[in-house]
């Protein structure tokens, strides 16, 4: 229809132009525009029908155009009227598509805004940590420089040597306690190991003589400004510290083999003192290494007692020096640092302000995930970015994440002060693991990702504490026997006589450790993680070896187990 009329108006360009302008300004569906064009063309033809000449037709066309009025206004009126003509279903579809389009546009804009969020770094938590962790002492009283020097000098037995000499990897096994009884090749290798670490051990001992230990936390010198947050703090040499403690243990055993008991005990004391230094540091991983050293010292001292005969004076000195290691009280696991790490992470991972206090930033979330799961190349990251954006959108906002995270840490700080027995019978405290388990892994993926496994953390701490107390008690019992010729009937006699300051408390029963005389000997044990007195029967591991802190028996401190 439109084509037919278009052809008829070919000689009247003004009319054709006018119709084209109206249609182009109508900006409506093609079919409707075609109908309107045909109808307007037909109108012009009818108007021009009576004109004889081209000139007359042109003149008349201009008059008709003038009669139609403003092109833009006409187009608007036509479009409006035609829109009203469309059927309801078409209107519904059009409105739905418009709404969907609008929503998609809003979503795109929101996604762009969301993805380009930037964190606001308002608190320098690293500086705050360094301020908080530094005691008011001069630098020369700090053990850490000596420990670090010792670690840098330390030489680890290589893998071949470890495979050839199992004593290196199973240092606590009773069969390796008697150095003189080891095969010659083992003795030579161990002696060489001790020799090459002579200088490192000297620094380790120097560290043990210092009254305190603190660390200036910082970053890898090659770390970019973007990566300077607590998550990236480096804590070097922890493995070497454990290696140095092993050097001390071997030195102790070699000294016993030579008959140098005082030297042997001094080596154990050096380990115990440095254990305490590390336990006072801020990071959980440092404290755990400290606890491992503490455990090593408290295994080795009773072992030494069993294999040698000490005088009452030696026992008294050793007990006094060992008690002095924790004169300020046995340290409670310090989780404040980890709480600060969490706060620092939040300020790097979330925007600051707006709905819910800010939202998770996908790019930062990718950075931190990269540290743990290694997202590899940029391509892979680009591929995962939409998923990260979606995950960030469903994640809890900043305020809620902070609130729940703080609750987890606060509850855990409370728990760290409770013995395992108190924790078992608690009513009003939930563990971090309980809270985490109850949280949606999508909404709180950050917390699931970064909160450390607190499970049994405080139990490890209390194990260290009771091991230390048990060693002091064993020394007191040995003193009593050295003075009176037999062991006391009860531990209470030790405290009454001033040989022991306090009764050793079992954290798994909240009662004193169980002590019984057994003929010419005695037994001292904790009921252990099963909270049940198994009559002093030690727990056994999968291979039948006797082990401490198993839930199928008691943890026996004395007599020292002969097999593991």
């Amino acid at each position: 229809m439109a084509k037919q009329n278009k052809t008829d108006l070919q000689n009247v360009p003004a009319a054709a132009r006018f119709i084209n302008r109206v249609i182009s300004k109508m900006r409506y569906r093609r079919q409707v525009c075609r109908d309107v064009r045909a109808e307007l063309a037909a109108h012009f033809e009818d108007e021009l029908r009576g004109c004889k000449t081209d000139e007359e037709r042109q003149q008349k066309a201009l008059e008709v155009i003038a009669g139609f009025g403003d092109v833009k206004m006409l187009a608007v009126l036509l479009r409006r009227a035609k829109k009203r003509c469309r059927p309801l279903w078409r209107t519904v579809v059009a409105r739905s598509l418009q709404t969907a389009g609008l929503l998609i546009l809003c979503l795109i804009l929101y996604t762009v805004w969301f993805s380009t969020g930037k964190p606001t770094i308002s608190v320098d938590y690293v500086a705050m940590l360094n301020r908080m962790s530094r005691p008011e002492v001069s630098n020369k009283d700090n053990a850490l420089p000596h420990l670090e020097k010792a670690a840098s000098l330390y030489v680890d037995p290589n893998q071949d040597l470890r495979e050839q000499i199992p004593a290196f990897s199973n240092i606590l096994s009773p069969e390796y306690r008697d150095f003189a009884g080891l095969p010659e090749a083992d003795r030579n290798a161990i002696t060489e190991y001790v020799r090459v670490n002579e200088q490192a051990w000297g620094e380790f001992v120097a560290a043990s003589s210092k009254p305190c230990c603190y660390r200036e936390y910082g970053f890898d010198p090659n770390c970019s400004d973007r990566d300077k947050w607590m998550w990236s703090i480096i804590v070097p040499h922890l493995r070497e510290f454990k290696g140095l403690a092993h050097v001390g243990v071997w030195r102790c055993r070699i000294a016993i083999a030579r008959g140098s008991i005082d030297e042997a005990l001094n080596n154990c004391l050096a380990i115990a003192r440095n254990a305490e230094h590390l336990q006072r540091l801020s990071m959980i991983v440092e404290q755990l290494v400290g606890l491992a050293l503490c455990s090593l010292a408290n295994e080795e001292i009773p072992g030494t007692l069993e294999s040698t005969s000490l005088t009452a004076k030696q026992l008294k000195d050793l007990q006094g020096q060992l008690a002095q290691v924790y004169a300020g009280g046995y340290p409670v696991m310090n989780l404040e640092f980890d709480k600060m790490v969490f706060h620092d992470l939040v300020q790097h991972l979330f925007t600051d302000g707006g709905l819910g206090g800010g939202h998770l930033i996908p790019a930062s979330w990718a950075d931190i995930s990269d540290d743990r799961v290694n997202l590899a190349g940029d391509d892979e990251r680009m591929f995962l970015m939409p998923l990260l954006v979606a995950a960030s959108m469903v994640h809890a906002r900043r305020d809620e994440t902070l609130e729940v995270g703080d609750r987890i840490y606060d509850e855990q700080i409370k728990l760290a002060k409770m013995t395992p027995y108190q924790q078992k019978h608690r009513e009003d405290v939930s563990s971090a693991d309980d809270i985490l388990t109850s949280l949606s892994s999508r909404k709180f993926s950050v917390l699931h990702f970064i909160v450390p496994a607190f499970d049994r953390l405080s139990e490890i701490e209390f194990r260290g504490k009771v091991s230390h107390q048990a060693t002091l008690t064993i020394l007191a019992l040995a003193r009593w026997r050295a003075e009176k010729g037999e062991y006391p009937a009860s531990l209470g006699q030790l405290t009454a006589a001033g040989l022991l300051k306090d009764l050793p408390m079992d954290p798994f029963s909240d009662k004193p450790l169980i002590y019984r005389r057994t003929g010419d000997n005695f037994i001292l044990y904790s009921v252990g993680p099963n909270f049940r007195d198994d009559g002093g029967e030690p727990g056994k591991g999968h291979n039948g070896c006797l082990e401490k802190w198993l839930d199928n028996g008691d943890t026996v401190f004395w007599p020292v187990p002969k097999t593991r």
Binding site: V36, A42, A81, R84
Partner: protein, 113 residues
């Protein structure tokens, strides 16, 4: 005398419905018919005519369809619907009342000579 456009706009739909109630017409024919039957007193501007037709069609008062004219050309013919007839009757009744009222005010001066 030509009517003021605003005044005409108010009664244009009734006029179109009245003309179409006498038979189907296409746009140009309709505009000619209005002028002719009102002795050129009423003139519907071309810019008003087609939007008005489409609006009446949207309200389902008239129906438009393409037909072949006697001359062989295709034209869009408009005819009044049942709903349009009802609306026309209602509007005419209102106009009658309006005229009566105006006559009373103007003491019969508005009555046709």
């Amino acid at each position: 005398m030509k009517f003021e456009s605003q005044l005409l706009k108010g009664i244009a739909p009734v006029v179109v419905l009245e003309i179409l109630s006498r038979g189907q017409m296409y746009g140009y024919e309709l505009s000619e018919a209005i002028e002719e039957r009102s002795a050129e007193v009423l003139t519907l501007g071309k810019g008003t005519l087609y939007p008005l037709l489409y609006n009446l069609e949207a309200k389902k008062l008239i129906r438009g369809r393409w037909e072949q004219a006697e001359s062989g050309r295709k034209r869009r013919y408009y005819s009044i619907t049942g709903k349009g007839k009802d609306e026309l009757a209602r509007q005419k009744a209102q106009l009658k009342e309006l005229t009566t009222g105006l006559n009373l005010i103007f003491s019969g001066a508005l009555a046709p000579a």
